[in-house]
Amino acid sequence: MVGETLRNLLMIAWLLPLAGFAVEIFGGFWGSRKSRVAAWMSVGCIGIGFLCSLSALLIWGNSNSWTVLDHDSHDETHVDTDHAKPADALATDTHPSPDSHTSHPPVVRGKTVYSGTLYYLARFGSLDISLDYYIDSLTLVMFTMVTFIATCIHLFAMGYMSEELTEELVDHSAHLSNGHHVHRPGRYYRFFAFLSLFCFSMLGLVLAGNIFQVFIFWELVGICSFLLIGFYTERKSACNAANKAFIMNRVGDFGFLIGLMVLWTFFGTFRFGETVNDTGEVQAGLFQMLARDETGNVLRDAASGDVKIGAVTTGADPGGNRTIPYSLLVVAGLGVFAGCVGKSAQFPLQTWLPDAMEGPTPVSALVHSATMVAAGVYLVGRFYPMFVQEVLLTIAYVGCITLFMAATIAIVATDIKKVLAYSTISQLGYMMLGLGVFGWGAGLFHLITHAFFKSLMFLCSGSVIYGCHHEQEMPKMGGLWRKMPITAFTMLVGVIAISGLAIPGLIGLSSVFAFSGFFSKDAVVATSLAFVKDNPSHFLLFIVPLITAGITAFYMFRLWFYTFAGKPRDQHLYDHCHESPWIMTGPLLALSFFAAFCAIGGEDGPLYRLITGDQPAHIAHGIAAAAGSGEITLPGHDAIHDVHGTAGTLALIAAASGTCLAWLLYGTTLVNVAEIRRQLSGLHGFLVDKWHFDEMYDALFVKPAHVVGQGCAWIDKTVFDGIIHASAKIMIFVSKWDKLFDEAVVDGFVNLLGNSTFAFGRSLRVIQTGRLRQYVMFIVVGVVALFAILFTTFPG
């Protein structure tokens, strides 16, 4: 019952935007470009979707009487870990084995994971590809978050995009060949149609019950991102950015496809969880198949070292003796992660995200900070049970590199949106790091909080840009807080949140007053610290994020100071800028509230509990490496708990120092920034050039591609064209002779025939004198001649 209710509610929330998209794109709004109907429609769709998601969350909680939230359930997972459990029981974390409950005072958690099949796409014998749904706490939280933020951003966009409400719009950023500006009709309805389509895709991705379905919507959100980045098609930069994003995502998706192939080959299914197919038998999902022992390691065949795939209810061998080579499991994980790298703009595929800022600011807020780029992180979290240690380590390092690099670049960026873009990349790196170091809850926790405050900050920047008439360069701003106080205030909230500042309470860190960012980043740092403690060789995984925490605080405050504090640097701009209308500031306030307080209570707070309510079983107690083996050890919760205080303190110190530095450099006039910039010009240039990534890619891929292409072109020109031209010449030669033959012989014959006929007719023409009497004479003579011949030839 609950399952059906949840499924229906979420499906409504999922499909409403699609309906909205259809109506908006085909509803003939091009006829009335001044109407806001399309916008209200999409806002209505996504708003209803938000309500549905929220109610679904509540229904889910009531269905298991909110046992997720209370502390016992949290402890129970601890208790569970103390017990030796048969592996097959652990295979399905959503169905606690009865004996565990017999042996323990009952804290009954109802069924919390619902998975099933919506529609069968195709069947291949016993195998099938279908549209499934997989609903657990994470799904519900994501749904609520996405729909809420999307609603806010839709409202904001209604104000921000209002200039599109015209028949004749002059795009000052797009130039024609003759130097004039592009004149085009407004595309208000199209923008909201794309937003609705994106919402549909994103929610479908979250709801997806199997990895293939995820891939489908993965590509759909890619398309939406393409469309929205390239919304100003007339601008060359926008087009390039759209292409860049799309292509780089394809690079990642290539790995994704490889992973899918491996999984399909060995597991024969894409489903995450158990489903009951139409014949009524229970089909195990991937999570059930990949069995883990009590230590959390995957079960391996002693002889071959292959990984056993247990609990197989589909496929040729129901006995469950099928195996998959460990290396291929790693490959599958890495492949899927490659997709996430592309989507989440991780190193080395991060360069598309800053360029994606060419799109309208609401798009940047919704797609390129809050939801789509987070989809990669979400997928890693969703697919967590399938990752083995090596994969996780890769994830951790990738995230580590990404977060540091992006932060450093963000220091020197002057475009307000670029700064936010690099911070986004950096924060995504944090999430990946957290997931990589076995901080499942931490990474996703940071994902949620980051979604709130980053979308908040993007909207603020959008408000600033809107107020400053599309001026994005921070050096021209300054002192804007007098002109746009609401924006400034909400922006400050976001900055504090992302910087992770907090006011330590008198008694311990457990009772700090802080905004959401602090808690989530704290969790990540703590996890990494715990990880480093277990694996000293990977100490960078703790140092780098710690430093980067300071850098983050530095560049975020730099941004705030640059923009709002101090004296106006461009008086003209200052004079003309203004506060945004309520329809834009309203969402800012709402978001700022959540950015501030969504994570209240930290890891004991409701949000974290909700997220981790259905976390994979083997996470809670970590995975201890076998003695002597070179394998890494993954920390459990209590290990993390132990180092929490330390990590939090260190992170807070780093953030505070970064903040102070920013204040010194940009809040006051004590230090001359330009001077420092000149002294560190080399480093500065390096950073401004984004670590020369674009150049590097240019050198590594584009140039070689060009070289190869030129080679191919040369071969094409010389060899193939040569062959073709030669054959053509031969043909011409032959046809010349053929022409001669034609003219001489064939035409000659035909003309001869025609001419002779003509001449004959000419000669006969003489006979046709038009004289009646001569004709009669001819007849008579003819008859006479005939008879004469007759007589002579037939005598008698």
């Binding site: 023409r765 006979i767 046709q768 038009g770 009646l772 009497r773 008579v780 005598p795 008698g796």
Partner: protein
């Protein structure tokens, strides 16, 4: 056919002058032939359109003579007479139309000389 014998030797008898002109079939046919030939020559030599018309009438009369002769001397019987009647009637019709045409021609060319009617000259 069996009765049909064409040959110069056998034909040579028409060359010598017939002693007496008895009213038998061949004499009629000879008269018809003369009429026919005269008509043809008339058509061939007369420049006056109406003269040509008269030639046609002569030709038709030659045919009539033959018909009547056959009806008289062979078992063609009455059919010959009937045919010649038809010929006469249709000849009258033809004469009427031809005369109308001649009048038209005269109206247009102010002459009846058929040699002037050479618009179809090749």
């Amino acid at each position: 056919m069996t009765g049909r014998r064409i040959g110069l030797i056998q034909n040579s008898k028409f060359l010598l002058v017939r002693s007496s002109m008895t009213a038998d079939l061949n004499s009629y046919l000879f008269v018809g032939a003369v009429l026919f030939v005269c008509g043809v020559v008339c058509m061939a030599t007369k420049r006056n359109g109406i003269g040509v018309l008269m030639g046609v009438e002569l030709v038709l009369n030659g045919a009539n003579v033959n018909f009547v002769a056959f009806s008289r001397y062979t078992d063609l019987g009455l059919d010959g007479q009937v045919f010649s009647l038809f010929v006469i009637v249709l000849a009258a019709a033809e004469a009427a139309v031809a005369l109308a045409i001649a009048l038209n021609f005269y109206n247009n060319h102010l002459t009846i000389d058929v040699d002037r009617a050479n618009k179809l000259k090749g």
